[in-house]
Amino acid sequence: MSIIKTTRADKVLLLICIFLSLYSFAYVKEAMPKGTEVRIEVDGKLKYTFPLNEDRTVEFNGVIGTATVEIKGGKVRMTEAPCPNKVCIHQGWIENGAIICLPNKVVVTISRPDHSKGPDAISG
């Protein structure tokens, strides 16, 4: 048997593996199914549900005052809020995740309509 060593093909394959595995992070983020529903909760109770693909502006009452949420082009932002620090407004447009205004107890989330009640995980 000939002497075994690391070949050029090995090194090329290693580089390809490193590149592909790092690239897959970006790829998977793109390929993830996106949320389609905007849910607005006030003080823990679901107040409105809107489809993400219809542009609209909603004004509603929070716990300490009136808040305005804008849905436009598949993105959501808080445009007006009565809270002192305006963290929710400064968050700007979001495509997924949530905007949370603590003083006003308003939670805006982008989610998918199905809420299947399966197990969270199975470990072996």
């Binding site: 075994i4 060593k5 690391t6 090995d10 290693l14 490193i18 595995s21 399966g118 199975i122 072996g124």
Partner: protein, 170 residues
Amino acid sequence: MQSADKYRIAILASYALALHGFEALIPTPIPWLRLGLSNIITVITLFFYGIKPALTVTMIRIVLGSLLLGTFLGPGFFLSLSGGLAGTISMCIVMTLFPGLFGPLGISLIGAFFHNIAQLLTAYLLFVRKIEAILVVFPFLAVAGTVTGAFNGIAAKYLIQEIQKKQIIP
């Protein structure tokens, strides 16, 4: 099969089994993340003895390993079985189709990659049924597979070179 071959397969399988049991003791940040150290033995077997012994060693390692760790026929067993077989078979195919093109490093990387693909597929078909969950896990597994595959491949290379230098046959 010659009795000398049986003896070698038994020795190699017990090395693989020992590494398999040893790595189950090593804590990892994610519970199902494993180093795949026993793949070092699979690669060495493949380079010295070829396809059939490599598959035999893998099968012995998976079945006996799961019996020893108490996971036989549990969810982890099927993940281990599909991953182990896919990894070994893919390494065998590449060794047969492109003899001499890859050294232990490349072969080990290929094995690690298909091991992960098969495990994700099994997890999807048997347990999770949610493509998002598989997609979220995939990049982490791919990175882990590259790191452990490269580490195991380099370890296998040094072991093979030592064995050749010292003229000892495992």
